[in-house]
Amino acid sequence: MRRNNHWFIVIIAGIFEIGWVIGLKHASNGLEWVGTVFAIFVSMYLLIIASKQLPVGTAYAVFTGIGTAGTTTLEIILFGAPFKLAKVLLIGLLLAGIIGLKTASYSEHKDEKEEGYS
């Protein structure tokens, strides 16, 4: 139960991550920049909180996966970027590498999370 709540926090953090990435590219006035900076802090804060109760590497992998998939999809749907198969595949490959690194980092140190390094 408690753990599920923390995974939910990771998902919310990922959504705020998508928010600030869009803001960083598209913010055009003061209010939008304030919202962007706010989203940056919220996403980092939520990720830090959730990481204290979850395997850090896996939490970060899920978080980055949401951010990467979200920005790639929304860029096409909301901002009319052309769909390029090669680009989507390369981003997928890059994401696979990140997830591999984040999950492999902890697989050997499951019992010493405090000593872990992400």
Partner: protein, 104 residues
């Protein structure tokens, strides 16, 4: 030039990730300074890079460099394992980043 800014942003993000890690270990002023300095410069450079690189490409490479950077620092300074799986994953990230640059 935008790609150089993007690499600088990724390296700065590595610093920020180190800050997060330090805060999880001990909440001192230096940890927060590393986190704040690293991420501030990271977001400024990422924003500049995004002026000419598309959002998803810039974000993926930025976070990829940040991850690879922190793994390499873990291997060098924290004596973490450098087995073939991790080296392969680092290769994947870097190959994909170069590929994205080439098709841009």
């Amino acid at each position: 030039m935008a790609w150089v800014l993007l690499v600088i942003a990724g390296i700065s993000e590595t610093l920020g990730v180190i800050g997060i890690n330090q805060i999880n270990r001990s909440k001192n002023v230096l940890s927060y300074a590393i986190l704040l300095g690293g991420f501030t410069s990271s977001f400024v450079f990422l924003s500049l890079a995004m002026e000419s690189i598309t959002m998803s490409t810039a974000y993926a490479i930025w976070t990829g460099i940040g991850t690879v950077g922190s793994v390499i620092i873990g291997i060098i300074f924290y004596n973490e394992a450098h087995d073939w799986k991790r080296i392969l994953c680092i290769g994947l990230v870097l190959t994909a980043a170069v590929g994205l640059k080439l098709i841009d």
